[in-house]
């Protein structure tokens, strides 16, 4: 026999070379099936009729051995009828007759070589396949390796992203907080006021400025000043509600926003209470630090279109009015005309 005429291959060799092969007779009977194919079928295939055992999904219209022979060389998508969930792909080519007489002549039979489809990993799981179920030349095991390696790397990246996300949130929170008092800083206040104004929630605004703070700093030192600022923050928190926003916006200046509170009389009551509390001496070591505060106020309902910057400027102006009236004063912004 010559190479041009073809070779005969023993069944044992064929099983190793193509553990998922099928040999069909001219009438479509299964003459032999590779061991891996027999393993996933769970029952002997030899002796059965190919079209009873297999369904060819693509290309369409292949229902007889003749159809299959005509599509020799085309890629087939098929599955065992008994295990439709395991997708297979395959290729059918004509067989030549064996022996000296039949050499080189097609005998009407077909040889099919099959492999798993893209759902290889699932097939391996479903049928408990091992390395030896694949031909030594098959990259199927490498594909399994890749699936596993990719899953491991993806899990690492997911974890890394989660940690970075946590770190980012923590950093943002830190960046919004005045580290001395734990209140919001100016940047956070600007952002929150813009959000509240955009939502059209009515709110009151107070600008609190400490009186005599500079004297505490100058006479008792910065440590005493820091202590006083922390105590002031504590006092302001105690005199406000949970949803109110407190920010330290300068050395001894604080801004408080009260969502839902716009009544000038009610705001003044709160402001007076704050000033009373801040006017009590604050003990520091063996000394008492005496400060007080003045407060300028405004409310979003005084404006047709409340603008945070303008409201802050108006509260600041009201603060100066309060200070002009003597220390420990409270003043509300008075618009020249409604909406003005």
């Amino acid at each position: 026999m010559t190479a041009a005429g073809g070779f005969a291959v023993g069944m044992a060799a064929l099983d190793r070379l193509m553990p998922m092969h099928l040999c069909l007779s001219g009438t479509g009977a299964v003459l032999s099936a590779g061991p891996t194919l027999a393993k996933i079928a769970g029952a002997p295939l030899a002796g059965g009729a190919f079209f009873d055992l297999f369904e060819i999904r693509q290309p369409g219209g292949i229902a007889t051995p003749g159809d299959l022979a005509r599509r020799a060389g085309a890629r087939l998508y098929l599955n065992l009828r008994a295990v439709p969930e395991t997708g297979l792909r395959g290729l059918a080519m004509p067989l030549q007759g064996g022996g000296p007489e039949g050499g080189g002549q097609e005998n009407g039979g077909l040889i099919l070589n099959l492999s798993f489809g893209i759902d290889l990993a699932q097939a391996v799981r479903d049928h408990a396949l091992t390395d030896t179920d694949f031909a030594a030349t098959d990259l199927a095991v490498e594909l399994l390796y890749l699936v596993e390696a990719k899953s491991a790397v993806m899990a690492e990246l997911r974890d890394l992203n989660r940690r970075l996300q946590g770190a980012r949130i923590a950093a943002e929170e830190q960046a919004q907080t005045d580290t001395l008092t734990g209140l919001y800083n100016r940047r956070a206040m600007d952002r929150i006021m813009a959000e509240v104004a955009a939502k059209a929630t009515p709110f009151g605004l107070m600008h609190v400025d400490l009186d005599y703070f500079k004297q505490v700093n100058d006479t008792l030192g910065h440590a005493a000043g820091d202590h006083v600022l922390r105590e002031v923050a504590r006092a302001l928190r105690a005199e406000t509600r949970t949803g109110d926003m407190l920010a330290r916006v300068g050395g001894d200046e604080f801004v408080i926003m009260f969502p839902g509170l716009t009544d000038p009389a009610a705001m003044e009551v709160i402001a007076r209470r704050m000033i009373d509390r801040l006017s009590r001496p604050i003990p520091y070591r063996d000394r008492d630090c005496s400060i007080s505060a003045s407060i300028g106020m405004t409310a979003s309902t005084l404006y047709d279109a409340p603008d945070p910057d303008r409201m802050l400027a108006d509260a600041d102006r009201a603060l100066y009015v309060a200070k002009r009236g003597g220390r420990a004063g409270v003043a509300m912004h008075r618009p020249k005309a409604r909406g003005g």
């Binding site: 699932q122 408990a128 390395d131 596993e148 390696a149």
Partner: protein, 208 residues
Amino acid sequence: MHGLVNRSIQCFLRDTYGPGCWAAVARAAGVGPGGFETMLHYDDALTGAMLDAAAGQLRRPREAVLEDLGIYLISHPGPEFLRRLLRFGGVGFADFLHSLEDLPERGRLAVPDLDLPELKLAEQAGPGRYDLICRGGPPGIGHVVAGMLRAMADDYGALALVDHAGATAGEERISIHLLDSRFAAGRPFDLAAGPDPARGSTPEGARG
């Protein structure tokens, strides 16, 4: 150095000698409090400083620490990623040895920016005798590889003598004598035992 390598050393020291040992090594080597991230890159010098600090802390030669690291990478109970990924290389220990030259490429398939040393397996006179040459890795890598090979021989149930046989310029040589490839039962290896891609995630706590 790839974070995977540094993180492996971190986990090895923490799991084997306790968090206190890792903390002392990290302090001595100047590693940040969070340790290493597997998917980031770090200065090579940091890896060297960490290994020196570990050797000092454990009062053991650096080579012995590296070999234990290699054993740990394969045999530490847990997610077994590395052990599994290496077991994909062959059905028996000899088959596995033959697949080692593919290892750097396999590593890159999983993690494209991971640089593994070039490996070359040479059969020596006498049955079951091999030399494995590691080229281009960081100094001492041969000791890690020797530790890994010992652990893999156990994993396959093979009886093999593995020894670091010295280093010359840029090369480290490991001698392997495979005495019995079926000495013991070995650990089972199921192709499909890894994370189920259909579920899309690995079990919680799977990372080292």
